[in-house]
Amino acid sequence: MSFAFYLIVALTLAGGLAAVLLRNTVHCALALTVAFAGLALLFLGLDAQFAGFAQILVYIGAVAILVVFAILLTRSSEAEQEGVFSKSWLVGLVIAAGVFAVLGWAVLASARALPWQAAAPIVTVRDIGNVLVGRYVLPLEIVALLLTAATIGAVIVALHEKERTR
């Protein structure tokens, strides 16, 4: 585990923490992109170039932008009068801590069984493409259908509501 790994992990976790803790919603979204970028770097560290760049392209280029657009369209960036955390925040925190405890225990308990070393797999984009349209062609088609449906659905959901209620 190199110094770079710890640096990237620190960046990712700091971004994630800031994304859920900061008061200003736009700052949260920007911190989220820091976390996404850190994750993309972790993917690159795991020799998954394609996934890393796809992560940057989709998350930073599209999802983060969608989030900030939503924030601005719903005026969430204006300061809240009441607290930013929900009334049941303690319960949520306990649940999250419990989940982390279980997961961490599972990882640590099985740490000995985990593989130590693995040769870096040589994966070209051609291989990924071949697998995508070969073995995984059905999921690919389903995802394509899902994306189309989601696009249409998002447009319909966010279309201007008719002036009939209130």
């Binding site: 736009v26 700052h27 920007l30 992109t33 170039q49 394609f50 760049f53 796809a54 940057i56 392209l57 930073i60 280029g61 599209a62 983060a64 932008i65 900030v68 657009f69 601005l72 960036s77 070209t124 984009v125 051609r126």
Partner: protein, 396 residues
């Protein structure tokens, strides 16, 4: 070393120079040093090109409008960028009182860094690529997508309604035109069978007789190139798609509240974006560093790459001198109702081209489909609205 022709030596002169510099260092750090030298070269060449372009742009625009353009600083005004640089550096760096200082500071840096990253995968000559990545095209677009966020950061952190309006327009426009930009590049990937930009150039570096096999000389390639150019112009916020930074209505849009060095950084970012997207367009459709006619290969490859980039820049400037700015609704309509459907159709045509095999039949069929679609879409979707005398809803 065997005797190599002088043209090959000149072609590879930068590589040879780099290797000569690196061989003084211990073997362990050589690859690293080579990359650092490449980064330094990119970081020097493109800002220099930016300085040259600004003065050429101003002079060229002047000529198009029957003016002289800048001609005071130095011979024919060629030292104008130096004067501009000194001015930008010595200006006061104003940060608005209500602005979000940290985000306001980071935004131009994010922009310039993200734009610079894109140059890493562009092959600027034979063997002249910083990182020959297997998924280079994806990397390029990932970096291009990151610039949108910096635009938003700049506009939002300024706490200025013109800035935020400009930023929302810019982000909306960049997202809308990124889709056709990506899809028109995908048609090249479909034929070349690789995301690596060096492989894409090599796939085009063949000649029939003296004529090159550039993708722009195929029906699908020409259509994709056209759509790519439109989308690239919109991506770099250049006229006629310069609505987000329209000086006349938004006072430079998202970077209204920037001054001095940070303003210069935004300016630099915009021009570097133009260079990188022109370089990508040249690589994908115009054969990258390959010569336009086979016997011109004696001229070094990097000269061809940079002359293609500068020709693209000239067309950018020419369009800026000619076309008026689009309105927001026209911009979006154009993206979603014309450019995107046409690119999607072009993908189908590309697949057809791929599977029809060699022969004249695919030329006829593909050209016919694309030309027909172009005419029909132009007739139906983009016709001019009939504008009658103005009617008033309440006043009569």
């Amino acid at each position: 070393m065997a005797a190599t022709p002088i043209s090959v030596t000149i072609d590879q002169i930068f590589i040879l120079f780099r290797d000569w510099l690196v061989h003084f260092l211990p073997v362990a750090v050589r690859p690293f040093a080579a990359v650092v030298l490449g980064v330094i070269a990119i970081a020097c060449v493109f800002p220099g090109l930016f300085a040259l372009t600004t003065v050429f742009e101003r002079k060229g625009l002047g000529r198009m409008q029957n003016r002289l353009g800048p001609n005071r600083v130095g011979p024919f005004g060629f030292f104008q960028p130096i004067a501009d640089g000194i001015k930008a550096l010595t200006k006061e760096d104003v940060i608005p009182f209500r602005a979000d200082a940290v985000v306001h500071f980071i935004a131009p840096l994010v922009l310039v860094v993200a734009v610079f990253m894109g140059f890493a995968v562009l092959p600027m000559g034979r063997n002249m690529v910083l990182v020959d990545m297997d998924s280079g095209l994806l990397f390029f677009f990932a970096m291009g997508a990151s610039t949108e966020l910096s635009v938003f950061m700049a506009g939002w952190s300024s706490r200025n309604k013109y800035s935020i309006l400009g930023a929302m327009r810019a982000v909306g426009q960049m997202i809308s035109y990124e889709v056709p930009l990506l899809l028109s590049s995908v048609s090249v990937v479909m034929i070349a069978g690789s995301l690596s930009l060096t492989k894409i150039v090599e796939a085009q570096n063949h000649y029939t007789g003296i004529f090159p096999h550039w993708y722009v000389f195929t029906p699908w390639g020409f259509a994709a190139f056209l759509m790519f150019s439109i989308a690239a112009t919109a991506e770099t916020n250049r006229s006629p798609f310069d609505l987000p930074e329209g000086e006349s209505e938004l006072v430079a849009g998202y970077f209204t509240e920037y001054s001095g060095f940070k303003f210069a950084l935004f300016f630099l970012g915009e021009y570097l974006g133009m260079f990188s997207i022109s370089g990508l367009g040249a690589t994908l459709f115009l054969g990258g560093w390959s010569a336009p006619l086979s016997f011109l290969n004696v001229i070094p490859s990097w000269i061809w790459f940079f002359s293609k980039v500068m020709a693209a820049i000239f067309i950018f400037i020419w369009m800026r001198g000619t076309l008026p700015r689009l309105r927001q609704d026209q911009l979006m309509n154009f993206a979603w109702k014309f450019v995107l459907p046409f690119t999607l159709l072009n993908l189908v045509v590309t697949a057809l081209w791929r599977f029809m095999g060699e022969g004249w039949a695919r030329w006829v069929v593909c050209t016919a489909i694309l030309a027909l679609a172009y005419v029909l879409m132009g007739r139906t979707g983009m016709h001019r609205k009939k504008i009658g005398p103005r009617s008033y809803r309440y006043a009569e």
